[in-house]
Symmetry: C2
Subunit: 216 residues, 2 copies
DNA sequence: TTCATTTGATGAACGCTGTTCAGGAGATAA
DNA sequence: TTATCTCCTGAACAGCGTTCATCAAATGAA
């Protein structure tokens, strides 16, 4: 008997287990993708588990093998969004730029995220804000806001900004960005040109704000 | 027979008809109030016609005697909101102030409206933005935005502002205000102090923006 | 190969929702 | 008193989220 080496059967069993585990993850991801697509198409009202099941090609009950319930499914969509969002914000901030330029880059990243992942943004910040309220799962969310605060703090520490209230300032900047993205996403009556010029002006005004926060 | 004068019976009949008409309006208003209260308490998810019916003291079917359907009921709430909103904005603008101060007053009025009528604001601008998209009923909504545009235009005409793009500028200002009010309303995890300091900073930064838009 | 066990998916069922509608009770008109 | 009209009800239907007994197939052991 070869000492500690797994037998052929053992190896087969392991690979089989792994393959089935991978398949499970694929099904889970398929349901998640169907949910994201459906949420984008139908919004919070028309979105239904039965619709997700049909889109993914399973019966409604199957969803409960992969997610606790409807809220858990939507929360997972939001969570996926927060992770991508955090990466995008950190990437924007870690370009070796001056704090003020970092801030501008983060503003760009914020808007880009909203436009690139509107379904995620809706769940995260518009339709299901209850997820991040009083929930221990709000970690990723707080990290994203912390990234903004850190950058404002750096701008103050470097002497670029006046010593403003960091929390209030970054919350207000967040509000501006959130408002622009929200309107761009939800106001379906806006044509592409209006949306674009509003966002462009938003970026200009963010620059104006940043200038206004400068020392002296 | 006294010529054209109505008989006593005729007078009674008219008053009776009017009284019953008033009672109908009262029931309608009661349903509307119940709906507003319930929407504020439960949000778009938990809000149900059966809940409204119970709150108002009628059976579910009765609501359909006064409103077309659930959307019509919610739209009526939104419409009520738009009317009050328009009055508040016009009041703010018609103080005989300089255009720039009018703009500041309107910003204050905007935030005040959102905080005073959060249920209406949610229906109008957050949860049911589909109402004002591609609908002939969007008149009151467009009027409110027009009020903002008019004031920006006045500031340019009076020489206070640089000749910026009026539509884009007022849309961006709107975005800022909308973001602040949205966060204040929907982020239940904010304590009162954070909410207050964010809104206070928002007003400060609006002032900064207005300064930045001044003629160089 | 054969057979028991485990796994993944199903479809029926429950209580909820929005919505419709035949019917009934009470006020109104004759 | 009687007939008409007005307002409201409660039952019904389809669709929703959710649960669960059941079943087919894949697995692991013999």
């Amino acid at each position: 008997m070869t000492k500690d080496e797994p037998t052929r059967e053992e190896r087969i069993r392991r690979k089989s287990r792994k393959r089935r585990e991978d398949e499970k993850q694929e099904v889970r991801q398929a349901i998640l993708s169907a949910a994201t697509a459906l949420f984008l198409k139908l919004g919070t009202e028309g979105f239904s588990l039965r619709g997700v099941a049909e889109e993914a090609g399973y019966s409604p009950g199957t969803i409960y093998l992969y997610f606790e319930n409807k809220d858990d499914l939507l929360y997972t969509v939001a969570d996926e969004g927060f992770q991508r969002f955090l990466i995008m914000l950190h990437d924007a901030a870690s370009d070796n730029l001056e704090p003020i330029d970092q801030l501008r880059q983060m503003a760009n990243a914020y808007v880009s995220f909203g436009l690139d992942y509107p379904a995620h943004y809706r769940v995260m910040f518009i339709d299901r804000t209850d997820f991040i309220a009083s929930d221990e799962r709000a970690q990723d969310w707080q990290a994203t806001l912390q990234a903004l605060r850190d950058t404002v703090q750096k701008a103050i520490d470097s002497g670029d900004f006046q010593p403003v209230d960091v929390a209030a300032t970054s919350d207000a900047l967040w509000a501006f960005l959130h408002g622009a993205v929200s309107l761009a996403i939800t106001m379906q009556s806006f044509d592409a040109e209006r949306r674009a010029s509003m966002l462009s002006m938003t970026h200009q005004l963010i620059d104006t704000l940043v200038d206004g926060l400068r020392k002296g």
